[in-house]
């Protein structure tokens, strides 16, 4: 809060009559357009900025400043917004990836593989208490989080599953042995008796998980 960046002292200017210098007003418009989720009207800008400000002029300065840049000031109906320059749209294609939370079945299967690897499909089913659908294993393999380990030297020589480097990478682990044990989970308060969020109605919550998506890490 201390450093206003341009040396101008806005706290002075905020007093009743004198509006901040235009360069300062331009900064304000820039910050508001940047942070706002929706296009912002001139009226809304005026409402936020110190008395006597001239948001329309500041907007015009800002629009010109962004000409030819990677981002533009565009008009959306009666309001204004910052948008990526259309010729750079190809850079944004990664932005369109839709991230979904892993289903509960997949999550549990993955957890069992991580904690018990190498582990056979029968062992996974034994621990989960239900059969593991083919799609679940396929999905985890496709995501690159698990792969086939060596075959178990028991009758039938069943294949085993283990987690991959990509898995360790994603979860920020040095090795699967770094996963905290039950005791530590409990000590960290991750194991108390309350049901996990979204639980309650058996497996019907696979979809609900989507709603939880970002929620875990949102500040509330």
């Amino acid at each position: 809060m201390a450093d206003p960046g341009t040396g101008a002292d806005p706290s002075q200017d905020e007093t009743l009559f004198e509006a901040p210098p235009m360069a300062e007003q331009e900064r304000m418009v820039e910050a508001v357009l940047f942070a706002s989720a929706d296009p912002v009207t001139v009226r809304d800008l005026a409402g936020r900025m110190p008395n006597g400000s001239d948001p329309a002029t500041a907007l015009e300065h800002l629009r010109r400043r962004y000409e030819g840049r990677g981002v533009r000031v565009v008009r959306v109906g009666e309001a204004w917004a910052l948008r990526t320059a259309p010729d750079l749209g190809f850079l944004m294609q990664k932005e369109t990836v839709e991230v979904r939370k892993l289903s509960r079945a997949a999550m549990e299967t993955l957890a069992i593989i991580a904690y018990h690897q190498p582990v056979t499909r029968a062992e996974i089913e034994e621990i989960r208490g239900v059969s593991v659908s083919r799609g679940t294993i396929d999905q985890l393999i496709e995501m690159g989080w698990i792969r086939f380990g060596r075959r178990r030297a028991t009758p039938g020589r069943p294949v085993t599953f283990i987690v991959t480097e990509a898995f360790l990478d994603h979860f920020g682990l040095e090795s699967a042995r770094d996963l905290p044990g039950l005791k530590e989970l409990r000590a960290a308060g991750l194991l108390d008796n309350r049901p996990p969020p979204g639980e309650g109605s058996d497996d019907a919550d696979a979809e609900d998980d989507d709603a939880d998506q970002g929620g875990l890490f949102d500040a509330e």
């Binding site: 989720a37 929706d38 892993l102 289903s103 994603h170 039950l182």
Partner: protein, 263 residues
């Protein structure tokens, strides 16, 4: 650390006493003995590096004493600290016994001072952190992420927390399973009655009640026992209703039933 000036604690001023009493009222507000010690240390009004650990020990002990007088319940770790400080005090006051093993009183006092200073530092840093310009409060991220969507690819993700919780859920499922009786080897009285009622009309002759057991319940001992007991109880019920008669030749002989004339 080596000063042995404990006059401050023996001659307690009115102000200090009031301060200590204010502390007592607030005893719930402390996060453990170290926190309490840190608060007490402020009454010495010196830099933590110059603090008299001996005087601090005295302050702490008299605080605990007062709390006892006022019958305030103190958690065990406060008392453990009190015992340790009493020990430390004796180490600091008595001339060192060369035969004695272990660290000197000065070493122990120095470590306590270090702990206090470290806790104080962390506390200050916590406050500094919280007072920083913060995302979502003082500075902001882009309010809307660009949506030039043409191709839409779905990926799945999960956090380490999800993974651990999934595992924890699996491994502790047994602990949380609601208790239910395993009932598949139990034939209830209602079931036995329901079965007996329609059959009894045909029992003109004396018939062993065991012949009324449901199919498949004769072989498994647990099921046979349960079915026998409930069929017997059901028979008694029907006798009471006057529907059937019941007899047994001698102890452990087969129990037989037949319908009554008007049943």
């Amino acid at each position: 650390m080596t000063d042995t000036d404990f006059s401050t604690s023996t001659v307690t001023s009115v102000a200090e006493r009031q301060a200590a009493e204010a502390l007592i009222v607030d005893v719930e507000g402390f996060e453990g003995p170290l926190d309490l010690l840190l608060t007490l240390s402020r009454t010495q009004k010196v830099d933590l590096r110059q603090i008299s650990v001996l005087a601090l020990a005295e302050q702490y002990l008299s605080f605990i004493e007062k709390a006892r007088d006022l019958r305030i319940e103190l958690a065990a770790d406060y008392l453990v600290m009190a015992a340790w400080l009493a020990f430390l005090k004796s180490r600091l006051l008595l001339p060192p016994d060369p035969a004695e093993e272990g660290p000197s009183g000065e070493d122990l006092a120095a470590h306590l001072a270090f702990q206090l200073e470290r806790l104080q530092a962390m506390r200050e840093k916590a406050a500094t952190l919280m007072a920083r310009d913060r995302l979502g409060r003082d500075f902001f991220a882009r309010g809307v992420t660009e949506d030039v969507t043409r191709t839409r690819r779905v990926t799945h993700t999960a956090t380490l927390l999800d993974l651990m919780q999934a595992y924890a859920r699996l491994r502790t499922r047994e602990e949380f399973r609601p208790y239910t009786m395993d009932r598949d080897a139990v034939l209830t009285l209602e079931e036995a009655l329901g079965r007996l009622r329609p059959l009894i009309g045909f029992a003109g002759e004396w018939t062993d009640i065991l012949s009324y057991l449901p199919e498949g319940w004769q072989d498994d001992p647990a099921r046979r026992r349960s079915a026998t007991a409930s069929t017997f109880a059901a028979s008694l019920e029907l006798v009471k209703e006057g529907r059937i008669e019941m007899r047994q030749g001698e102890s452990f002989a087969p129990i037989q039933i037949r319908r009554t004339e008007d049943g």
